[in-house]
């Protein structure tokens, strides 16, 4: 019987035919990671299990990314303990300022066919490489560290195909917002979302990552894109070309649902407070006053995004009523944007640049909005209380919509600013 991409990846690892619905125990995990937010609990679970790591330490990463730089002694003490743990176990350690875990997983670790387990829900992002990547809680991650194994229920798959060319001003963020709006916050619960079609093939890796990153916002266990020449190019540019191989679903694979989208019909989309699936065309909220604009996060804090933002804002002064904050997703992105002159132009336009990390997406440090303020964010979640204040109203859009809105101080259609 034909297999979906997730069935193919898991079969390859298990050395036998695997089908949806099966419960499997799988070893040979390629990467297991945790970060400052969940790491302390992972370590205490691991200690309950006796402490040791049963996995090659080069496959384990600890990231300090959620709250950086540390704003308090108690958080710094947690970081000190995490660093001590990483050094003691000899695992990979990415300290404050290196960037968001998912971005670093993309830059340094993810390859086709991998199994990646992270103690963070947006671990799905690495599915852009054709890797099975999923988020789990601290106990599961501790067990993966201890035993080198995890258990999984093999998910059914949803086949989503996006065909054609995206119109000017419409980006991969609009595609995924549109899909989440269509199927809802639990539209893909427990499933694998598999993305196909010429519009996806035309996207570079950074654009694809935005899509697989947000698969979890529809409840998916993983979001997968079959690896192709774009994947190879991305890996080669980072010295990992040898990791590339082709893995794709069979033509007669069985899907639980199929969705087709015509790219040329799409328009800029926006998620209204306080749910990610509360999606409407930007057109419906044009002119709404914006107080804070956030450019960043694992969803849209990459070089590709900064290029788009730069193209719209350039060195022009953003609206004086807006506080705009830009947080590169990693140090590499920061340096690239710096060399390209983008950081300088954004700073002179009045944008505050904060160090690589999660920044305002998680909202513990870095520009928490005041009561009743409207935040337009390029991140992936607008839940009540996200960005640090339950009295704020968070909207989610593409970097282009956010940039155009920062310029005019109100929600603006990016097609008018490009």
């Amino acid at each position: 019987m034909g297999q979906t991409l997730v069935e193919k990846i898991l079969s390859r690892k298990c050395g036998r035919y695997i089908g949806a619905g099966e419960i499997i125990i799988v070893g040979g995990l390629d990467c297991v990671f945790t970060h400052d937010a969940s790491g302390p609990l992972v370590i205490s679970r691991l200690n309950e299990l006796g402490g040791g790591i049963g996995l090659d330490p080069s496959r384990v990463c600890v990231f300090i990314d959620h709250v950086v730089p540390s704003p308090s002694a108690s958080i710094s003490n947690d970081y000190k303990a995490l660093k001590g743990f990483a050094l003691e176990k000899g695992v990979r350690f990415h300290d404050q300022g290196c960037g968001v875990c998912h971005q670093l997983i993309a830059e340094y670790y993810a390859s086709p066919g991998d199994i990646i387990i992270g103690s963070d829900s947006h671990t799905t992002m690495a599915g852009a490489f054709g890797a099975f990547a999923t988020g789990m809680g601290a106990s599961d991650v501790a067990i993966a560290l201890k035993t080198g194994m995890t258990w999984l229920r093999v998910p059914e798959s949803m086949r989503i195909s996006v065909e054609g060319r995206l119109p000017k001003g419409v980006f991969s963020k609009d595609v995924i917002l549109k899909i989440i709006g269509m199927i809802g916050a639990e539209g893909a619960n427990y499933k694998s979302m598999e993305f196909h079609g010429s519009a996806i093939r035309r996207m570079n890796m950074e654009e694809r990552m935005t899509i697989t990153n947000m698969a979890v916002e529809a409840g998916a266990k993983c979001g997968l894109i079959p690896p192709d020449e774009e994947t190879r190019k991305y890996l080669e540019e980072r010295g990992r070309g040898d990791k590339y191989f082709k893995i794709e679903p069979d033509g007669d694979a069985i899907y639980s649902d199929e969705i087709s989208i015509e790219a040329s019909d799409l328009e800029p989309m926006i998620a209204l407070p306080h749910n990610v699936d509360n999606v409407v065309p930007v057109e419906e909220v044009l002119g709404k006053r914006v107080d804070v604009v956030f450019f960043g996060s694992c969803t849209n804090g990459r070089m590709e995004d900064f290029k788009v933002i730069d193209k719209i804002i350039g060195g022009e002064r953003i609206d004086r009523g807006v506080r705009a904050i830009a947080t590169p997703a990693s140090r590499n992105v920061y340096l690239q944007a710096l060399k390209a002159g983008i950081i300088e132009r954004l700073a002179s336009a009045g944008v505050v640049i904060t160090p690589p990390g999660c920044g305002l997406c998680i909202g513990v440090v870095g520009g928490i909005p005041a009561d009743d303020e409207v935040v337009l964010s390029t991140a992936n979640r607008n839940f009540l209380g996200r960005a640090g204040n339950p009295k704020a109203h968070i909207y989610l859009s593409s970097p282009a919509t956010a940039a155009a809105s920062a310029l005019y101080g109100a929600i603006t259609d990016p097609r008018e600013a490009m």
Partner: protein, 166 residues
């Protein structure tokens, strides 16, 4: 396995940010303190009024969002004996089992806030003692009941020496 307690009724799409607001992340190593902020943006009285044995009753997609295991942990820390919902977000469901908090999927529309509810996990039945309504659900799979009765997956792995006997 079963329990009895007052229902705390919630709607659809309760997220991990409702359960454990991200802004309290600095309390993540102090679960007792963190639990004092559970649901504070939507039901500020929750943590101070909830009684041991009480049951959370919700709509669709309970626990959407983050993979933080802190979310089911604070609920359990406050003494809640089970969460009953029309559906759960995937990671929360798994985390709840892993830490020994039973997640039950069934129709919750006949249960109102404050009703006295009795839950029988083996039989797969929720009895609303306040209005005599009864709702049946598919009992949890045996593996899951075993993990719950051993107090969570970490205890389970400790006892059985790994995942193999799963």
């Amino acid at each position: 396995m079963g329990s009895k307690g007052r229902a705390w009724k919630f709607g659809d799409n309760i997220t991990t940010d409702h359960i454990t607001p991200s802004r309290y992340m600095h309390l993540r190593s102090n679960l007792f303190e963190l639990s004092k902020h559970a649901f504070e943006d939507i039901r500020p009285e929750f943590s101070s009024s909830v009684k041991p044995g009480d049951i959370i009753v919700a709509g669709r997609n309970f626990g959407a969002g983050s993979s933080r295991e802190h979310a089911p942990i604070v609920i359990k820390t406050l003494g809640v004996s089970a969460v009953i919902a029309k559906s759960f977000a995937r990671i929360f469901y798994r985390n709840a089992i892993n830490i020994g908090l039973p997640p039950v999927i069934c129709d919750t529309s006949t249960i109102n806030d404050g009703d006295l509810v009795e839950l029988d996990l083996q039989e797969g039945i929720v009895k609303n003692l306040s209005n005599k309504a009864e709702v049946k659900f598919k009992p949890l799979p045996e593996e899951i009941v075993r993990i719950l009765s051993e107090g969570g997956i970490v205890n389970y792995v400790k006892k059985h020496g790994g995942l193999d006997k799963f």
